[in-house]
């Protein structure tokens, strides 16, 4: 099919869940008993979206874009290897140099901005030129142009001066791949949820909510509402993926957030669920604050939110996107701040001198636009780190990782969706989408954050006993791996991990859901030996565990430059293997720890196990090529390789920082050595788990726990992050707010009370003098006189007929007499 079909198909896939959401929103209650039809509608909508997505991939994208082997980038020469392996040497001296450099810069700028900046600029230009020359000597790859993409405006919301808000799309291979992944996993989750949520089809008695009367809460089932939120969730996620500009990403980003809020808090009556939902929402707001700053930095300097160029029918660029502005062709697709960025940036760094700069030396400002200048680079760093802050919140990276494990309070299908295809994937996806804008310094931040996250989360997972929490921490850890890979320049590796991780993590969560469904508990200390009772679940979960370990050690060998960044993934592989198999052994192997629960355990219905098997197949197969072709995820993703990622990049602010190109970091010499190291540690982890939890070999968990009790309690309490945040943020906020509350109660209230008393006194005076005396007095007097007159007139009304007649007669006569007197006068 023609590529013009691509936007249509994907828009159809995007909007179908919205239609399903609207339908269920209005008619959900009336779709069968407790909205049974809602599940059917939502599921068919997402399956339709999946069909559209896969048609777009196989029917439109692949026929029009021939796949090439990703490995064609990398036939590294000896020299190339040499360069990449030597790169870390520079990093050792990095930390001292940063401070030194910054200090130097500020001093210079304070004394003589113009002179200092130009010297700095010239130095930086020369330095980079020499580095680039050196790279070229080493047979550096030519930098790659922008990948093939389709971008256009669908609808213009409004134009405000320079700011144009529109609904637009940006479709490249990554978009198509994400659409397929999200729709496929969401379909599996929908099918699974039909089985898992059947409790909600009738009045549901919540075992975890006790009313004040001591009874369990019984409420009407909310089956239809669950599917309603699922549909909205899918719609929002598709929106994030297809969005063609930053503003639209932000809108759908927040929609994803609110959907996760609804779904985590699905059992809203449970206190833990509602607080977990609040926590997820609030923690994400913290990240989104940074994202807003990043967006403002980009927009104020670039004047556009759009990602890609929008071309008219003749192929001329109508509207330039931020990617091509920042990585223009004349710069050989290297990231350079634009003139606007240098200008904006100088305003911050130069401060008051800026006015003189502009007024006095317009020519000098024009000269500043030599695509250099550290000022613009700082702004670029702010933008990159700001956007990454949003991703830290969504993808649960350190230090905002605390919400994800609590999000386990939602129903398990939600966990499967949140942890694989939607919520947390959005953050990693955005880093991937934004990759061309991220400067090397921002990438370093990404890498370190990812590295810290993967270690912290993996260690916490060792001691957790809630089956879903182990998986949750494993997700956080895996997301750390993805961020690490992206931060080290491994764009394809990071995105590949995102997609494969989605498959096996949703598989693992659905398996855990199946176990929970079978034994009615989350606690692994009450499971054991379930392999015999639920074989399908057990072996599909084993597939998931193996897949996650494989990922972990293939990432251990991903990239290694810095001591911490090198050894953390390798250590992570060890821990990952350990806790995943600890989970599997505790749940499925050995003897039952709770005979009662074991006796009642049963395999889940087919509507739940079928998605498990499907996902297990995908988890195993998604990394491989389709036999006989070179069609695989890596090659597909390579088609979306962001502009300018094939060349080694050097930091502007940290000149010694080197982000190697992806093929360099895959150089066999590095990859094999690190891969073997990671594989052996992973195997060691697996062995250790087997020793402790399967073979009774003298290493008993309880004894180990006692021996390492400080370590255990440290990990058990999740490194005391919650307590730390309680201490750092919550308590001071409470203290501050109680101070403010005191001020409010004592000072402001007393002022207001004083004012009120004065007003009251004034009105008292008015009341006594004016109202009571004057107004009431006159009205009362009038009333009294009327009353007296009435009393007096009453006497005439005697009721005696004869008297009345006499009155009439006498009255008439008197009238005549009076008239005669008047007439006589």
């Amino acid at each position: 099919m023609d590529p013009s079909w691509l936007p249509k198909l994907l828009a159809l896939a995007w909007l179908t869940p919205l239609a399903s959401f609207v339908l269920i929103l209005f008619f959900g209650k009336h779709m069968g008993s407790h909205g049974k039809g809602a599940g059917l509608i939502a599921t068919s909508a997402i399956v339709f979206a999946a069909v559209c997505s896969f048609t777009a991939l196989f029917g439109v994208w692949l026929p029009n874009h021939r796949l090439q082997d990703a490995s064609h980038h990398s036939e590294p020469s000896e020299a190339d290897n040499h360069a990449a392996m030597n790169a870390p040497v520079h990093l050792v001296a990095l930390s001292e140099d940063v401070g030194d450099h910054a200090q130097r810069t500020s001093v210079q700028q304070r004394t003589s901005v113009q002179q200092g900046a130009s010297v700095e600029r010239r130095a930086s230009v020369e330095r980079r030129a020499s580095i680039e020359r050196a790279d070229q000597d080493h047979g550096q790859h030519a930098n790659n142009p922008a990948p093939e993409y389709y971008s256009d405006n669908l609808y213009e919301l409004g134009v405000f001066g320079n700011l144009k808000l529109s609904i637009s799309y940006y479709i490249d291979a990554l978009t198509v791949a994400m659409f397929c992944m999200v729709s496929l996993i969401a379909s599996c989750v929908h099918f699974y949820a039909i089985g898992y949520m059947h409790d909600e089809l009738h009045d549901f008695t919540d075992p975890e909510v006790t009313l004040s009367s001591g009874e369990q809460l019984t409420r009407p089932g909310r089956y239809y509402r669950f599917f309603q939120y699922l549909s909205l969730f899918c719609f929002s996620m598709f929106g994030v993926v297809i969005a063609g500009n930053m503003a639209m990403v932000f809108v759908f980003w927040e929609l994803v957030g609110i959907c996760s809020y609804f779904l985590i808090g699905f059992y809203i009556e449970r206190h833990t669920a509602s607080t977990a939902a609040n926590k997820a929402f609030i923690v994400n707001r913290v990240g989104d604050f940074g994202m807003l700053i990043g967006m403002m930095a980009l927009w104020s300097s670039l004047g556009t939110f759009a990602f890609g160029d929008i071309k008219n029918e003749q192929g001329e660029v109508v509207e330039q996107g931020m990617f091509s502005m920042l990585r223009s062709e004349e710069n050989d697709y290297h990231l350079r701040p634009t003139d606007g960025m240098v200008f904006e940036g100088q305003r911050f760094t130069a401060g008051d001198n800026m006015v003189d700069d502009v007024a006095g030396e317009g020519a000098a400002v024009a000269g500043v636009s030599t695509k250099s200048g550290l000022a613009g680079n700082w702004l670029l760093l702010v933008a990159g780190v700001g956007i990454f802050c949003g991703c830290v919140g969504k993808s649960a990276q350190f230090p905002l990782h605390v919400w994800l494990p609590d999000a386990m309070e939602g129903p398990t299908p939600v966990s499967a969706l949140v942890h694989s295809a939607t919520m947390v994937a959005a953050g990693v996806y955005l880093v991937g989408r934004f990759f061309p804008v991220l400067s090397p310094e921002a990438l370093l931040v990404v890498a370190y954050i990812g590295c810290i996250t993967l270690v912290i989360a993996a260690t916490i997972a060792i001691t957790a006993t809630d089956i879903k929490r182990v998986l949750a921490y494993s997700t956080v850890s895996q997301l750390g791996y993805m961020m690490l890979a992206l931060g080290l320049g491994g764009w394809v590796a990071g995105m590949f991990h995102l997609i494969t991780h989605a498959f096996f993590k949703s598989l693992l969560f659905m398996c855990s859901g199946s176990v929970i469904h079978g034994v009615h508990t989350n606690d692994m200390t009450e499971m054991g030996g379930l392999r015999k009772k639920m074989p399908i679940t057990a072996y599909t979960m084993l597939v998931g565990c193996l897949a996650i370990i494989e990922q972990a050690f293939s990432f251990g060998g991903q990239n290694s430059k810095h001591v911490l960044l090198q050894w953390a993934p390798v250590g992570g592989a060890f821990i990952t293997a350990f806790y995943m198999f600890r989970l599997w052994y505790m749940t499925f192997a050995g003897k039952p720890r709770n005979q009662h629960r074991y006796d009642h355990a049963h395999e889940s219905p087919r509507v739940m196990t079928a998605p498990l098997i499907l996902l297990a197949v995908f988890a195993l197969g998604v990394g491989w090529s389709v036999p006989g072709t070179n069609l695989n995820v890596t090659n597909l993703l390579d088609q979306a390789r962001p502009v300018g990622t094939l060349a080694t990049t050097h930091g502007e602010l940290l000149p010694e920082l080197v982000i190697p190109s992806e093929p360099d970091s895959h150089a066999p010499a590095i990859k094999n050595a690190a891969g073997i190291a990671a594989f052996s540690t992973a195997a060691a982890g697996l062995l250790l788990a087997t020793l402790i939890y399967l073979w009774d070999f003298g290493l008993r968990p309880a004894e180990l726990k006692k021996t390492f009790s400080p370590l255990h309690s440290w990990l058990w309490n999740k490194w005391w992050f919650d307590e730390l945040y309680e201490l750092i943020f919550v308590k001071p906020t409470r203290a501050l707010s109680s101070c403010i509350s005191w001020f409010d109660l004592k000072v402001i209230d007393s002022i207001i009370h004083g004012l009120a008393a004065i007003a009251k006194g004034c009105s008292k005076v008015v009341d006594v003098v004016l109202d009571n005396k004057l107004v009431n007095g006159s009205v009362d007097t009038f009333a009294h006189s009327t009353w007296d007159t009435g009393l007096w007139l009453r006497k005439i009304q005697t009721g005696s007929l004869r008297q009345y007649v006499m009155f009439i007669a006498v009255g008439t006569i008197l009238l005549f007499v009076a008239i005669s007197f008047v007439q006589n006068i």
Binding site: L793, R794, I796, Q797, T798, G799, S800, L801, R802, V805
Partner: protein, 124 residues
């Protein structure tokens, strides 16, 4: 001031003059006065009703007298307007008597008496 000569002359005039409107007027005034006195003095409700009839008929007499063409010098008119009005009055009197008798009957049913002095429940 009471002037016997003037009184005499009035009475004399009446007695000596041929019958004219003023004779009727005197009779009507007498009947009217009798009726009013009857209403003012009788305690019997039927007596009061009779007094009313007397008042009405005294007035009728005036209408007829002033309307009659024999009693005025105007010979051209048909001279029936006074009679017509008095016929109206008679009809009204009949209707009024019917209503009044109904009231009296009810009053009697309630109080076992037709003494109008006892009909003073609505006094102030």
């Amino acid at each position: 001031m009471f002037n016997p000569i003037a009184t005499n002359s009035l009475l004399a005039n009446l007695l000596t003059e041929p019958v004219g409107a003023s004779h009727y007027v005197v009779v009507g005034a007498f009947m009217f006065t009798c009726g009013v006195l009857c209403m003012a003095t009788k305690r019997n409700a039927l007596g009061v009703l009779m007094g009313i009839e007397m008042v009405l008929n005294g007035a009728n007499l005036n209408f007829i007298a002033f309307g009659s063409r024999y009693l005025r010098n105007d010979a051209n008119s048909l001279g029936l307007d006074g009679q017509l009005i008095s016929l109206f009055v008679i009809v009204l009197a009949a209707a009024e008597a019917a209503v009044a008798l109904a009231i009296v009957l009810n009053f009697y049913n309630n109080t076992n008496s037709i003494d109008v002095d006892r009909a003073d429940q609505l006094r102030g």
